[in-house]
C-alpha cells in the first residue's frame, strides 16, 4: 500500500494515470455508447471539426466519422499494446530467469539467442513478419511481441543473477526445493517491481509500433486504427491537416501518459534506481 501512497503523491504520474484511465474507459465503453460505425460514410467528405454537432470531429476523405474512428482506434491501440506486452513478458521472463538462475552455458546460449534479436532492426523485422503473414490483429500483435521481448530477458536475467546468491535463495536450496519452485516462488516475486516498470513502458512502445505499422498500410484491414487514419490522410494533408493531426494527438497523449505513469511507478518501486530507464 506504501507504493500506492507514494505514487498518489506524484502529481505528474497521477496526470498520466488519469489520462490513461480516460482512454481505457473510452476503449471499454466508447464503442457501446457512441452510436456510429467508423467505416460508414455519413456526411460529405472533408467536413472540418466543430462544424456539424452530429460529427464533432468532422469527416475524413471518404466522409467517414472521425470521432467514431478515434473511439474504435483507442480500443485496438490499447488492446494490441497490452496483449503484445504480455506475450513479450511470457517469452522474456522465462528466458531471462533460466539464463540468470543457471548461469554457465545455459546463460551463454540464451543470451546469444537474445543478442540476435537485439541486433536485428526491430521495426524492419516487424514489417517483414506482418507483411509475409498477411496483416491481421494476430500477426501484428505477435510481431510486436517478437521484437520487444529482449529487454525483458536482459532485465530478468540481471535480477536473477543478483538475487540467486541471496540467503533466502540458498536457504530454499538447502530445504531441497526444486529449481522451478525457487524460480517461481522465491526469486521471481522479488524481481517483479522492475519488470512492472519496464512493462508499462513497453505498452507505450508497442502502441507506437502498432500505429507505425498501420500507418504503412500494415494494419488489420477489418479494424479502424489511429495509424491507419493518419496513413489514409497523409496525401491530403494540405487540404485537411486535422485528419492527420487529431489521431496523432491521441497516440502521443496515450504514449505520454503511459510513460509518465511508468516513470512514477519506477520512482515509487525502485527509489534507488529512479531515472535510469534505457534498457
Amino acid at each position: 500500500m506504501n507504493i500506492i501512497k507514494t505514487l498518489s503523491q506524484n502529481k505528474v504520474a497521477m496526470v498520466g494515470f488519469f489520462v490513461l484511465a480516460i482512454f481505457c474507459l473510452i476503449a471499454a465503453f466508447g464503442p457501446l455508447l457512441y452510436d456510429g460505425s467508423p467505416w460508414k460514410m455519413v456526411q460529405r467528405p472533408f467536413l472540418p471539426p466543430f462544424e456539424n454537432s452530429n460529427y464533432l470531429l468532422g469527416t475524413d476523405t471518404l466522409g467517414r466519422d472521425v470521432l467514431a474512428g478515434l473511439i474504435y482506434g483507442t480500443r485496438i491501440s490499447l488492446l494490441v499494446g497490452l496483449v503484445s506486452t504480455l506475450i513479450a513478458l511470457l517469452i522474456g521472463i522465462p528466458l531471462g530467469a533460466y539464463a540468470g538462475y543457471f548461469g554457465g552455458w545455459v546463460d551463454e546460449l540464451l543470451m546469444r539467442f537474445t543478442e540476435i534479436f537485439q541486433t536485428v532492426p526491430s521495426f524492419a523485422l516487424a514489417i517483414v513478419i506482418v507483411a509475409i503473414f498477411e496483416p491481421s490483429v494476430y500477426s501484428i500483435t505477435s510481431a510486436i511481441a517478437i521484437v520487444s521481448w529482449p529487454p525483458v530477458a536482459r532485465l530478468v536475467r540481471g535480477e536473477f543473477m543478483s538475487l540467486r546468491s541471496q540467503e533466502y535463495v540458498l536457504a530454499a536450496k538447502l530445504n531441497g526445493q526444486t529449481h522451478r519452485n525457487i524460480i517461481m516462488r522465491e526469486i521471481l516475486p522479488n524481481s517483479l517491481s522492475p519488470i512492472i516498470v519496464l512493462a508499462s513502458l513497453m505498452v507505450a512502445t508497442a502502441i507506437l509500433l502498432e500505429s507505425s505499422l498501420s500507418f504503412l498500410g500494415l494494419g488489420d484491414p477489418e479494424i479502424m486504427s489511429w495509424g491507419y487514419m493518419i496513413g489514409a490522410a497523409k496525401t491530403v494533408v494540405r487540404q485537411a491537416w486535422w485528419l492527420s493531426f487529431i489521431p496523432g494527438l491521441a497516440i502521443a497523449l496515450t504514449v505520454l501518459s503511459l510513460n509518465l505513469l511508468g516513470e512514477g511507478l519506477n520512482e515509487a518501486l525502485n527509489p534507488k534506481m529512479s531515472g535510469k530507464r534505457e534498457n
Partner: protein, 327 residues
C-alpha cells in the same frame, strides 16, 4: 594496436557474420512459412497468374528440391551478393538496394550525429540549470518528443516548415528539373536533408537529453567533483573536464542500440519525405507485395546494423581502454 585488440575485433567480426547467417536462414524459412506456394509468395502479385514464370522461379530457387538443398542454394547465392530479382521491376534486388543505400546512409548518419550533438547539449544545459525553468522546459520537451510518433511528427513538420512557412523543401532529395553541380548541389541536398534528418533524430535527441541530464546530475554528486570544486576550479571547467567526460559513457553505450532504431525509423521518414533510400524502397516493396525485395532490404539493413555495432565496438576499445576485451 596489440594482439589482444586484434583478437577482440576478430571475435566480433565472426559474431557479426554468424548473426547475418542466422538472419539469412530466418529469411529463407519465413518465405516458406508464409501461407501458400513459396514461388507465388516470392513473385508477389507480379507473377501470381503467370504459370511459366512461376515454374522458372521454382527451378531458379530449386523449390522442387529437398529443403536443405534449397537452403544451400539460397545461402551460396547470398554469399555471391545474389539476392534474386525484384519481380516487379525486373532488376536484381542487390542492385536496387545498392542504388538506394547512399541516400539512407546520408540520412541516418546525419540524424545520428544531430541527435547526439543536440541531445547532449540539451542534457548539459538542463543539468547545469538543475531545477530551474530551462531544466523543466527541456525535460518537458524531451518527454513530448519521446512520446510522439515519428511519422506524425514528420508529416506535421513538413506541413509547417515546408507547406505553411515555405522555408525548407519537404519532398525528395534534390530539386526536380534543375541541373545543379558542385556546391550548389551540395547545398540543395543539405536543405532537403534538414527536415527528414531532424524528425528522424528527434526521438533519440530526447533520449540522449534525458540520459545526459540524469548522468550529469549523478556524476556531479560524486566525490572527485566535490574535490575539484573544493580546490577552486571554475564551475564551467568542472562541468567540462570532470562531469561531462564521465557522464558521457552511458550515452556512448546507447549508440549501438540506436543504429537499429534509425534504420527502422528511416522507413517511416523516407516514406513521408519521399527520400530515395532503402526505407522508401522497403515501403514500395511492401506496397507492391514484392517480398523478395522486402527481405533483401531487411537483410541489408541488418548487415548495416551489424557493421555499425562492429565499428562502435572498435571505437570503444580505442577510446576507453578500461572496457574489458575478454568479453
Amino acid at each position: 594496436m596489440n594482439l589482444q585488440t586484434l583478437l577482440y575485433i576478430g571475435g566480433r567480426l565472426i559474431k557479426g557474420v554468424i548473426i547475418l547467417l542466422i538472419i539469412a536462414v530466418f529469411n529463407f524459412f519465413l518465405i516458406r512459412a508464409a501461407p501458400g506456394d513459396p514461388a507465388k509468395v516470392m513473385a508477389g502479385e507480379a507473377g501470381a497468374t503467370d504459370e511459366v514464370f512461376l515454374q522458372q522461379l521454382r527451378e531458379q530457387f530449386g523449390l522442387d528440391q529437398p529443403l536443405y538443398y534449397q537452403l544451400w542454394v539460397y545461402i551460396s547465392n547470398l554469399l555471391h551478393f545474389d539476392m534474386g530479382m525484384s519481380y516487379r521491376q525486373n532488376i536484381p534486388v542487390f542492385d536496387l538496394i545498392m542504388d538506394r543505400l547512399p541516400a539512407t546512409l546520408l540520412l541516418t548518419g546525419t540524424a545520428f550525429l544531430l541527435s547526439i550533438a543536440l541531445g547532449v547539449l540539451a542534457g548539459v544545459i538542463a543539468s547545469v540549470n538543475y531545477k530551474k525553468w530551462v531544466d523543466s522546459l527541456i525535460t518537458i520537451l524531451s518527454l513530448i518528443f519521446y512520446a510522439t510518433p515519428l511519422f506524425w511528427l514528420a508529416i506535421m513538420a513538413s506541413l509547417f516548415f515546408s507547406v505553411y512557412l515555405g522555408w525548407l523543401p519537404g519532398f525528395g532529395m534534390e530539386t526536380v528539373g534543375v541541373e545543379l553541380s558542385g556546391w550548389d548541389r551540395v547545398i540543395d541536398i543539405a536543405l532537403h536533408l534538414v527536415l527528414p534528418a531532424t524528425t528522424l533524430g528527434l526521438f533519440f535527441t530526447a533520449v540522449y537529453a534525458r540520459m545526459t541530464r540524469t548522468s550529469m546530475i549523478e556524476t556531479s554528486r560524486l566525490d572527485f567533483v566535490k574535490t575539484a570544486i573544493a580546490k577552486g576550479m571554475t564551475p564551467s571547467r568542472v562541468t567540462r573536464k570532470h562531469v561531462l567526460r564521465n557522464a558521457l559513457l552511458p550515452v556512448i553505450t546507447l549508440a549501438g542500440i540506436q543504429a537499429g532504431q534509425l534504420i527502422g525509423g528511416a522507413v517511416l521518414t523516407e516514406t513521408v519525405f519521399a527520400w530515395p533510400g532503402i526505407g522508401r524502397l522497403m515501403f514500395e516493396a511492401l506496397f507492391q507485395r514484392d517480398y523478395n525485395l522486402l527481405l533483401g532490404v531487411f537483410f541489408i539493413s541488418s548487415a548495416m546494423v551489424v557493421l555499425f555495432n562492429l565499428i562502435t565496438d572498435v571505437i570503444y576499445c580505442v577510446v576507453d581502454p578500461r572496457i574489458e576485451l575478454s568479453k
